[in-house]
Amino acid sequence: MSRSPRSPAPRAQIQTHRGGAPYWFLAPYLVLTTVFLLYPLLHAGVLAFYQTNGPRSRVFVGLDNFAFLLADPVFHKALKNTTIFALCSVFLQLPLSLGLALLLNSGNSKLKGFFRLVLFSPNLVGQIFVGILFGVLFTPRYGLINRFSQALIGWGLEEQWLGNPALVMPAIVITALWVWVGFNMIYFLAALQSVDKGLEEAASIDGANALAVFWYVTLPSMRHVVVFVVVTSIIGSYQLFELPLALLPQSNGSGPDNSGLTVIGYLYQVAFAGGDLGLGAAVGWTLAVIIFVISWLQIRVTGVAAE
């Protein structure tokens, strides 16, 4: 088959003509990313070596911001609180999400869609709303949770969930469970529905009980989703900010004795309330490194990246 010697010319012309078009369509994204992501990132890298009062006054302090941070007991507390929250997310929230997903996946009830909506719906409201709502539920003496726990176990009527340093983190975790369990359940449910039923049936025929089928067939089949949910949950946990802020408004989200202070809450306090953008940038970069290392370790350990 021969090609007309004249035919490539108009196509080349069109291609030349269209050559710049994709870049124009990409331009808004590229400009926004450069202005609002890349430039601030680079600028924050520089800023981390300065002590500032907003953007106007700055003094070069070298590594002093990082040195201060590593020695600051308040930052240690924020990091500890955030890590506890992240661990609760992984070891409490995700198993609950998976359990609910298994329950919803097991039956053929017409109510499945209804329960899916009910469990997911807390995620439709903002965290500020959730914070305000649970602030009322945790009210000593009159709050629903206090009254419920008093009726159930004879404890808690006058407990200050949001005023007692020992109870603040449990209160945040309980609130977060209500919000996020349903959200992660949707991921697990989608993964469960894509598991090959033939494999599960084959395992059952071979004599595997329900637990063995789940452990040796179902769970490995949804490994990618599990790793994704764990990684995003940990990243989300280390970025926790609005929920404690709304739950503990009297203390700007830090709670009594900083018991509800998170790393981002600490960043907000030093950078925006305190005006030291340099120290804030150092906190941001430190957090970025922590999240990167944890995520990298997870992906390495689970071997997902190699597949």
Binding site: Q51, Q160, D257, A273, G274
Partner: protein, 454 residues
């Protein structure tokens, strides 16, 4: 037409959406209203209403247009702080909440975005005309940056019907020791279910404002007049231990009624008999709990020692003029018009129960008016009599940090007290306060680098 578009269907529709949305924006654009000469922003609906009523008189007198804006307090503070630091548009005049001043003075004086009012205050003799102690809250490094709106003296508000039924004579509660003796008598589990149903007083379990105002009543706050932190004071240790005894343990007399609806319910139920009440709180109480009309009264705070100070201070609002404003003198005239306008201050008190710092205004009839809600007491006279002895509160860039650290020390003391009781408590509180003080000092020394005016 779509097929002829050289870049395909998707780009065609993207282009159409952009053209249509731009056309819609242009078509629905409203003509811009004339820019006001003064943009005044406050965070209190009551203030906004009062100023909107007053503004036309000022506008007529000066031939200008004033716009009074209402913005939520937290949003106002953070947006104003960021706008000032970034050099973007800000209102000409702003009312700030006490305690937020530190956010604006955390750099060198040249970075403070507010006009220095020190000379204006001196020229008008305002230190003599207003309650002098209120200027400290709005000053930094010897410069006054705001005009105080109020005094906010603190008294005790109580359920007179219940207190009188219990045979308590409040005139005999002269000291906190008298109060505690009475409190231990009335704090009771009334139905025998193991839960206390009646407490003497509402105090925040976490310390915070309740503890701070008691420290200030005792003459010791967070900072002294030179901006030095003052945690290392035997009165601070003694007050913390006293507070712990009243809020925890077998002999406690206080409960934490919280805020908002839980507080309203507690007051209605008579869960606590007495409530710490700055002037502003009397107004919110009479508005939110109309069914307690005629059942409430106020009394001065008990003193720490016989003959001592019978009040403290809680909260406050100050008016700043931003440096960015193009007509500073006009702004100052408007500030005086709002804050030193004697007849208007009488009306303002009648509408809010808030005592202005302008002492001349206290003689107005509105201040002597009996208040039916508070069993016919003349709230204006009671609070005005307390106003001159309100303690000074010194503002620094580290005010919030110091408040947080004081609370940390208090809560660690509380944790120790709940586990071990009084044995060794004083040493623990002293040690925690020393650590808190060191932390604030370390941060302030570090920040000194960037706060220097060169």
């Amino acid at each position: 037409m779509i097929e002829k578009f050289p870049y395909g269907k998707a780009p065609f529709w993207l282009l159409m959406v952009s053209v249509l949305s731009t056309a819609l924006l242009i078509a629905t654009r409203r003509p811009a209203s004339a820019k006001p000469d003064i943009v005044f922003t406050t965070f209190t609906p009551l203030h906004a209403e009062a100023y909107r009523r007053l503004a036309p008189e000022f506008e007529r007198a000066h031939g200008v247009h004033v716009s009074v804006q209402l913005v939520h307090q937290q949003g106002l503070t953070s947006r104003l702080q960021n706008a000032l630091l970034a050099g973007t548009a800000v209102p000409d005049m702003v009312e700030l909440l006490a305690g937020t001043m530190g956010y604006f003075i955390s750099g060198p004086l040249r970075d403070v975005g507010f006009t220095d009012l020190t000379e204006h205050v001196a020229q008008e003799g305002l230190r003599e005309k207003l309650v002098e102690s209120r200027f400290s809250l709005w000053s930094s490094r010897g410069h006054v940056f705001a005009l105080p709106h109020d005094v906010h003296p603190v008294a005790l508000m109580y359920r007179a019907d219940l207190v009188e039924a219990l045979g308590i004579d409040v005139s005999k509660l002269e000291t906190w020791q008298d109060f505690v003796t009475m409190g231990q008598r009335v704090t009771r589990d009334l139905d025998g279910d193991g839960v206390i149903d009646r407490y003497a007083i509402d105090l925040p379990l976490g310390g915070s404002d309740g503890l701070l105002l008691l420290l200030e009543q005792r003459g010791v706050g967070l900072f002294d007049a030179e901006g030095r932190i003052t945690f290392d004071d035997p009165r601070t240790v003694a007050t913390i231990i006293w507070y712990l005894h009243q809020t925890r343990g077998a002999h406690r007399i206080a409960t934490d009624c919280g805020w908002g609806q839980p507080l309203m319910k507690a007051m209605t139920d008579g869960l606590a008999l007495f409530y710490v009440a700055p002037d502003w709180r009397t107004y919110t109480t009479q508005t939110d709990l109309p069914h307690l009309a005629g059942k409430m009264k106020v009394m001065p705070l008990p003193a720490w020692e016989a003959g001592g100070r019978r009040t403290s201070v809680w909260g406050g609002t100050g008016l700043v003029i931003t440096k960015a404003s193009q007509h500073q003198e006009l702004d100052w005239e408007f500030a005086k018009f709002l804050y030193l306008n004697k007849p208007a201050l009488g009306q303002r008190f009648a509408a809010t129960n808030i005592i202005p710092p302008f002492k001349d205004a206290w003689n107005l009839p509105e201040f002597r008016q009996p208040n039916a809600y508070f069993s016919g007491q003349a709230l204006g006279s009671i609070y005005a009599s307390l106003a001159p002895s309100t303690p000074s509160v010194y503002s620094t860039a580290f005010y919030q940090l110091a408040t947080d650290k004081l609370n940390e020390a208090f809560l660690r003391g509380a944790e120790y007290f709940e586990k071990n009781g009084d044995a060794g408590l004083e040493q623990v509180v002293r040690r925690e306060l020393a650590e808190a003080e060191n932390y604030v000092r370390r941060v302030s020394e570090r920040r000194a680098l960037v706060m220097r005016d060169e």
